[in-house]
Amino acid sequence: MLIELKDVNKTYQGAQPLHVLKGINLSIEKGEFVSIMGSSGSGKSTLLNILGILDNYDSGEYRIDGKLIWDLSETKAAEYRNKMIGFIFQSYNLIGFKTAVENVELPLFYQGVSRHKRHEMAMEYLDKLGLAQWAGHYPNEMSGGQKQRVAIARALITKPDIILADEPTGALDSRTSVEIMDLLKELNEKEKMTIIVVTHESGVANYTNKIIHIKDGVIGQIEENSRHDATAFGSENGMLK
């Protein structure tokens, strides 16, 4: 079991305490391609933050590859994120004043990999994603799809255990969305990457092999979707957008 959550609770303290996650139990195996689906306010973003060690949970247990993720120092959390998790964000989150290849290099920079080595690796990954000739370009010179592929290269470069994609197609048109989802699917099938996609679009979720529905802070239905014909929210026959 790569990812294991047992009765994870999270409450946001405030004037009116908000109990966002109410006892999440979830297991994800190595090599799975999973989507977590829910509407806004369902707690899926909070769950993603906890899965990505970006946020703490109040009670319960979260293990990655058997390692308990609990009460980590910021430094330790940063190290775990760097080594175990690759992030793909809706808004790409590339650093604007760095070129594509520099963006891809960045996680390795924080690992202390030598200049030469990390440049070589970054170029290799960009090449894999068909962006070798864009290596020297800045994010604002690229299309959304290209930016997202740079972000994917950045997520992959540390050879993480898990890829966490937060609405990876949210800012893309439907044609590019299909490309990106195909790419993720291919990564899962060929490289056996464990990929978790958080989304509210059923079309996106339909690409994954397992759809985990979350509603009001609890896990609802878990749909096996090996046939990719889920139409969970009844959107037009499960096509993207």
Partner: protein, 415 residues
Amino acid sequence: MRFDIDRLKEIIDTLARNRSRTLLTGFGIFWGIFMLLLMLGAGDGLKTILNKNFEGFTSNAVIVGAAPTSKPYGGFKRDRQWEMDLSDIEAIKSLVQEADVVTPMYSDWRNEVSFGGRSYSANLKGLDYEYSKVETPEMLYGRWLNEVDCKQERKVCVLGKRVWENIFPDGSDPCGKYLKIKDMQYQIIGVDGRSSNISINGNSNEAVVTPAPLMDKLLQKGGKFEIMCFTVKEGGESKVLQDKVKSILARRHTIDPEDKHAIMVLDTKKLFSIVDNLFKGVNILVLLVGLGTLLAGAIGVSNIMMVTVKERTTEIGIRRAIGATPNMILSQIITESVGLTVISGMFGILVSVGLLGLVGKIVSANPEIGPVSFQIGFWTALGVLSLLAVLGILAGLAPAIRAMNIKPVDAMREE
């Protein structure tokens, strides 16, 4: 915290992102350093110029002069002109162990001296060879008086610079020639080119120096003179020497010990310390103003870094999300701050050093003043550089701590 080409590139990248802002912020530091160093250098230069006035004088000389008494004492009326004599020297030598050199100064004002048809009205000074320890001569030609000149009462003389310039306008070596003073021929043995502005019985520029015993005899002084010069022995107190000499002279010449005017005392140490203190004051003022300006610049840097950190919240969040530890963020912001401060400061150092060099060159070109260095010292520059680094760290601290506390979740929020 390692520093390598990557770190340097990061700094340059971020600083280059908002050029005009970086430039303006850096200017604050530049100006602070520039003003500080310029003023320090100018202060040093002025001090050198002022000290040239005392050139040649040892800092531990004491000059004692006889002046009219201001109080009646021992049967004498006030306003009595008294004179010192050679026996005073013997007495002081045996009684005051703080005294090293004790030497008389005979003088005779405005004497016509001439050579080859040219004449000049100079002051005659009768000095002992030991006097060179009080006021070090700077020989342009020949030598100064020596022990044999004095013992054998040789008829020799040393010319002051202006006397020589007037009598030998072609600037030729006058040594061996005979100068006519009061119908007698004195062989010229040297020219003293010192240009000090301290004048004891007339500036040494204007003087013709002859051996003291000779002058005593020829002018029929009878061993009497009005000025005595001392140097203080190593470890001796100038003040103690002055008090002892005063009381000995008062006793030997029946002067009221309370008479404050009869015995004039010039303490070069005091003179030097006045200048020293003056410039200590100037330096404190310069440091206050300069460091104040610099501090204002540093606060400017801190402010801008604060704004930068706020602007870069998303970027820093992304960095944290993909594995930067809080310490890495902290050191990144601090190195940016130090980089900005040190680079601007370096320009300040460069420009002020250049300007001070130029000023030094212009001032030194003036023959009245001679070579003066306005330059700041190497250690001062090094000190300023480390001060810059410290300021940079301090300026970066608050923004860096703020940046460190940015949570990676912030990167996930919509921009």
